[in-house]
Subunit: 331 residues, 2 copies
Amino acid sequence: MKRSQIALAIACALSAPLFAAAPAADEPIEVIRPPQNINLGMVELGKKLYFDPRLSKSGFISCNSCHNLSMGGTDNIPTSIGDKWQQGPINAPTVLNSSLNVAQFWDGRAADLKAQAGGPIANPGEMGFTHTLAVNVLESIPGYVREFAQVFGSGKIDIEQVTSAIAEFEKTLVTPNSRFDQWLLGKADALTAQEQVGYQLFKSSGCVACHNGAAVGGNSFQKMGVVEPYKATSPAEGRSAVTGQDIDRFSFKVPTLRNVEMTYPYFHDGAANTLTEAVDIMGRLQLGRTFNAEENASIVAFLKTLTGDQPSFTLPILAPSSDSTPRPKPF
Amino acid sequence: MKRSQIALAIACALSAPLFAAAPAADEPIEVIRPPQNINLGMVELGKKLYFDPRLSKSGFISCNSCHNLSMGGTDNIPTSIGDKWQQGPINAPTVLNSSLNVAQFWDGRAADLKAQAGGPIANPGEMGFTHTLAVNVLESIPGYVREFAQVFGSGKIDIEQVTSAIAEFEKTLVTPNSRFDQWLLGKADALTAQEQVGYQLFKSSGCVACHNGAAVGGNSFQKMGVVEPYKATSPAEGRSAVTGQDIDRFSFKVPTLRNVEMTYPYFHDGAANTLTEAVDIMGRLQLGRTFNAEENASIVAFLKTLTGDQPSFTLPILAPSSDSTPRPKPF
Ligand code: HEC
Ligand code: HEC
Ligand code: HEC
Ligand code: HEC
Ligand SMILES: [Ca+2]
Ligand SMILES: [Ca+2]
């Protein structure tokens, strides 16, 4: 760089804050930030494991079957289809931004993503496998043996490595750059007038008490049915299953509202098909407030501005099984 | 360009053929060429449809469920899992290079990829839907309505457009650049000595009579069990179901051997787990020849050189359903 160019560069760098609007610090919703401290080798390995149906007994079901990254990180059906088409007990939450959750699962029974990831593999109603069998399969596949050795520097694959890699991949599944975040970052015309009205209503009527922070939820457990009871179509009792406390009955982790446009159907039993319905129920059951059609539409319009950039990556190619790989048991 | 540079460029261009080895014109296997005359808009749309489980009754099964592009375009189980976990009657062939097939399905009952693509959507044992319902779903999704209008310039979605787009995407699923093709194109050290021995055996013992051309198969129907009958684990009788001719009983479309390392288990009933087994059976049943372990291993080593570049693309993001989208019926 010539001296004059350097001077100009410094001048620009110094003056930049004058032009860019400062993030709106006093808003209850925060901008999603791109993930940090990411181990890229673990991410690439975790991505493969996330897409690999050989972690299931049948050889047919992968994490992506129920948390489809083409569809907002969920399966868009009320309760999931598991091994042998078993009907799951509860709606599958999105994996998008799940790293921001205070804990994992509707009742928070897993502390973090790593603790969570072992669950579905060994759950008879989900992937129907065991950790030992899953590790045996991976150890029989030369492509995986090499990649685990490269990433973990150890000669032996274990379930800790498997869940660490999957969790590291999941950490990358954040969705920054939604129109709402652009607005928070100072792009005043990123939201329409109706969307801004919706956001004001979302704040003034009290939704932000539970849905706040970067994930617009995910950071507390709250009673479902504060003002009026919720007639769930599932017997799940939520947080009390973990704490054993009666006061936690029907408390659930507040779901993130990021990308909520894509994560229908809504609620832990998947009983609400549309955002209109979910917003109406929330208003009445949580706040004792009945929104008129226009108010409801404004809130829904605002919620749709929370759809961010979906994770974008090349479909992973999985290393083939070897002659010694235990074969799946589909039937 | 300066005059001297232009002269050099021309000199290089002219002299190139002197250095590059000419393709081996007298070999029974031809190089796979990248696809031509591709309509990119249709490809992008077809890719989304290929990954969209909303084309199934349950909302859970997409083309990619059974022809998983992370796993060589197949499901790697003997017979497929369909709607409600129904067991399919026959092994799912790979979609990779299926555009090179003389006809589609083991018995060739579909003339081409477009004719094929309507089948699974409406097959009660596969996606369990109907064409009308599938089109209704697509028409209710604004993202699809716009994309179909953009690609087909028509206001209305129909099943013809759906199958055309899927077929166009499938045309891109060729796998050029295998080590074998590099060798055919003159890279003499692309194959090891053992692999070259395997290829010579593959030619000299008569495999190429049926497995030839760019797909190393896919271009004729042949009896399974020429010298010795094949004891299939499935009742399928193959080509005779289409022609009604007794002579075609147990004739099947010769499968492509491209990427055969990834398309286990083998044969129309998926009964052979390993290439070693499949090569042994082929030798005995089709040619009356029993390969010793070394010969078998050489042929298997050669077959593995037929693995080409797998299709590489960004996982498609699917437009969300709207409030009016008919909901899937998973149970
Ligand atoms: C058969 C369907 C199915 C499969 C397969 C599956 N999940 Fe889930 N997943 C669910 C359901 C249902 C829940 C909610 C369970 C609950 O809260 O009790 C869930 C919860 C989660 C959560 C917690 C999200 C939150 O906000 O609480 C994460 C993270 C997750 N799954 C990741 C994975 C990973 C990683 C895999 C593969 C190793 C996987 N899932 C496989 C259905 C599935
Ligand atoms: C007292 C806490 C609380 C308040 C206030 C609240 N919510 Fe919720 N919200 C929850 C909980 C808990 C759930 C999950 C309930 C369940 O699934 O059973 C939820 C679920 C939702 C869902 C469904 C998300 C999904 O993916 O299933 C939407 C949408 C929603 N809330 C929007 C709102 C709106 C809009 C308001 C204000 C009108 C609001 N919430 C007020 C706690 C609250
Ligand atoms: C439930 C599993 C399943 C689903 C879903 C499925 N297929 Fe298939 N596919 C099969 C099976 C099994 C066959 C072989 C049937 C036969 O030959 O009789 C097949 C055959 C094919 C073939 C012929 C290949 C050849 O070499 O003959 C193509 C191409 C194909 N499918 C593409 C698709 C497309 C496109 C979709 C989605 C619209 C799809 N499949 C959905 C299982 C499935
Ligand atoms: C007379 C024709 C013919 C000859 C000769 C022949 N094949 Fe085949 N090959 C077929 C047919 C037909 C099939 C499918 C049979 C079935 O699935 O029931 C097949 C299947 C295969 C398969 C399994 C592919 C898959 O994806 O399922 C392999 C591997 C194979 N052949 C290799 C060979 C080798 C190696 C030789 C020589 C030793 C050979 N073939 C000779 C016709 C032939
Ligand atoms: Ca949901
Ligand atoms: Ca096969």
